[in-house]
Amino acid sequence: MKNDIILAGVGGQGILSIAAVVGLAAVDKGLYLKQSEVHGMSQRGGDVQSHLRISDSQISSDLIPYGGADLIISVEPMEALRYLPWLKKDGWIVSNSTPFVNIPDYPDINSILDEFRKIEKSIVVDADNMAKEAGSVRSGNMVVLGAASKYIDIPFDSLCDAVRKLFGRKGEEIVSVNIKALEAGRSCCL
């Protein structure tokens, strides 16, 4: 078993929380893991990505090779497309539909969504609204993870456990909002 996942977004959107949830669950299952992150300058509103690799055997490179990712999970639609060179020919792409507009030349959202329509194995979810319904717009990252969860070879219950572990310190309310968000994402794509 081996899952190579690219997580994408804009600095500050919470892709590292997605990485932490999958990472915790993977380690709990006794899997190997390597996960590279972007720190520093790009975190100031620039494009950020994380290479997340889980496997039942040793992992060599911290970076996923081009054409090697099984899955792209993105919390921003334009950012999802930026990493297509890394995606396998039969890989899946799961993205939030709400754009994060912090550049003057951000393209028309319809032209971005058109690109997703060209990709057969793509799923676009309205994560911001679903997160709002779950209790907090800030848990949109968990909605996207939930939507992508069936392409990750970790049982869904393990992901929920990892959410409890990760957000436990912040109180029961935050845990339940994030679990709800994760479940909402999961149920919309089964």
Partner: protein, 537 residues
């Protein structure tokens, strides 16, 4: 023992704590920042009261660590590659003095310049200073090399460098901890004159250092990190330094590699190892992350030797970091990219956070400078460097920590008046203060704008030495009190800021304008923490 999921940086920090380190010294700099941050948040470090306060700059951190080593304890100092330029005087001479307690210098290089102004290779500094270098392949090896580094350091009484690059620093993996070692107690060096580098003593120490350096490749620990892995296919021999070994293995799943491979993790390297692989293989491929230092050495200057492939003959790119695909292409293996990026995808460069005080400073500065010709704003390293990008296009330089002050002084010397500097608070106390003293001594017509967000922002909001001290520092350095002006960079204060700037541009001596408003990121975090604390009560 417990397994932890750690960044390369964090693995080094945890290893320091476990290996009896008494002091961690650093100035923030990507990709090294998380080493100190991890020590600061460690329960063990707090309980043992391991030194974990940030230093003013890399030079002071290097020297303080050397001082702790003088007093017999194990110390570690961490910095980004360009930080080593700042610390270089202490670093190079620490090899001559040697150490007492174990001393590890962590240099975190940033090939491809993800967050830096160059991609210099710190292994050069190791060779230049006759300091052994350990270069880990994985988070686990980074952890283990700290134990090894302290042992080598105390065995030979020299500092040891651990060189990492961005990919390892900021990549997470499982790390197996070892049993903790107790800290050393205070003890003075056996030779009371060891650290007194008067020429007569320095010559003796240097002679001694050269002997030690020569003997290092034969050391058991050093040797353990360099090994020749046999292979049947002698068409090619591969020499993989540090992290590049991972990219090599990535292309041969399940240990299916058939070429002989020399894996190198410690320097200086026993030259017999190079002979061994070169005897077997007519062609050698050299994989190095950073500069082609070893490739150049192996190639030598004489023609007619072995064919050496690598960064110098175009087999690999001359610049930038390596990855599995580049190594595959160097091996002539297929490397397939996914779909191309559709043209609808735009660049998304980093930018000021919404509501950042730096942007208010630049908006006011643009207006205040309207009546002057362009090209007179010298800036520096930090979040405010983003003022170089549209829509601001506000600054004309960003070179090295503190250079904004001194370059403004030099330009004023040349007659570019007014000459303006925009520097952050932490960068100012890092290396701007001494330049301001130069300006005061000759009464330069410069305006120094310190954009004070009361934190070290770009690296994620570490404590700034400048907080609450800037006025006193400037006054102490001799700036006239009436030309130390304080403004609050908010939209509503725009007119006042422009007025203050214009007045000080007119003044033909040294002015300092302190534009003070807390970083909105650290302010938000502080408020959240306060709320949480209130709730907790």
């Amino acid at each position: 023992m417990q397994k932890l999921l750690l960044l390369g940086d964090e693995a080094i920090a945890q290893a320091g704590i476990d290996a009896g380190m008494s002091g961690m010294y650093a100035y923030p700099g990507t990709p090294s920042t998380e080493i100190m941050e991890y020590v600061q948040s460690s329960k063990d470090a707090t309980e043992r009261d391991i030194h974990r306060e940030w230093s003013a700059n890399e030079k002071t951190s290097m020297e303080a660590a050397l001082g702790m080593s003088y007093a017999g304890k194990r110390a570690m100092v961490a910095m980004k590659h360009v930080g080593l330029n700042v610390a270089a005087d202490g670093f190079v001479n620490s090899a001559i003095t040697g150490v007492n307690g174990g001393l590890i210098v962590v240099a975190a290089d940033d090939p491809s310049m993800h967050s830096s102004q160059n991609e210099q290779d710190s292994r050069f500094y190791g060779k230049f200073s006759f300091i052994p270098v350990l270069e880990p392949t994985s988070q686990q090896e980074a952890y283990d090399m700290v134990f090894a580094g302290f042992e080598i350091s105390e065995r030979y009484k020299i500092p040891v460098m651990i060189r990492i690059t961005t990919r390892l620093a900021h990549s997470r993996s499982a790390v197996q901890r070892r049993a903790q070692i107790g800290e050393n107690s205070v003890s003075l060096p056996e030779d009371p004159r060891q650290f007194v580098l008067l020429p007569a003593i320095a010559r003796r120490r240097y002679h001694n250092l050269l002997g030690v350096y020569e003997s290092l490749p034969a050391d058991e620990i050093m040797k353990g990190y360099n090994r020749l892995i046999p292979g049947k296919d002698k068409k090619l021999g591969i020499i993989a330094f540090g992290l590049t070994y991972n990219y090599l293995l990535e292309n041969f799943p399940g240990d299916s590699i058939t070429y002989p491979v020399l894996k190198i993790g410690s320097y200086p390297v026993d030259s017999a190892l190079f002979d061994k692989i070169s005897e077997q293989c007519e062609t050698l491929l050299v994989l190095e992350e950073g500069y082609p230092i070893m490739e150049e050495l192996l190639k030598g200057v004489l023609s007619g030797g072995r064919t050496i492939k690598g960064r110098l003959d175009g087999t690999l790119p001359r610049e930038g970091e390596l990855n599995p695909n580049l190594v595959a292409e160097a091996l002539g293996m297929p490397s397939e990219r996914g779909a191309e990026v559709p043209p609808v995808v735009r660049m998304r460069p980093p930018s000021f956070c919404r509501g950042c005080g730096h942007s208010d400073v630049y908006i006011a500065l643009e207006e205040a400078l309207k009546e002057y010709t362009p090209g007179r704003v010298f800036s520096d390293i930090g979040c405010y460097t983003l003022g170089a990008l549209p829509p601001y296009n506000a600054i004309n330089s960003c070179v090295d920590m503190g250079a904004s002050v001194t370059m403004a002084v030099g330009a004023a010397d040349a007659g570019l008046i007014p000459s303006v500097c925009v520097v952050g608070d932490s960068t100012f106390t890092h290396s701007g203060m001494t330049g301001l003293l130069d300006a005061v001594v000759k009464d330069s017509p410069v305006t120094i704008i310190i954009s004070d967000n009361s934190t070290t922002g770009m690296t994620g909001g570490q404590k700034s030495h400048a907080t609450g001290r800037l006025e006193a520092i400037c006054e102490g350095l001799g700036v006239e009190k009436e030309h130390i002006r304080t403004v609050v960079p908010l939209k509503k204060n725009h007119e006042e800021m422009v007025k203050v700037m214009k007045e000080e541009f007119e003044y033909k001596g040294v002015s300092v304008i302190i534009a003070i408003r807390e970083c909105i990121q650290t302010a938000a975090r502080r408020k959240k923490d306060e709320m949480a604390r209130k709730k907790g009560k």
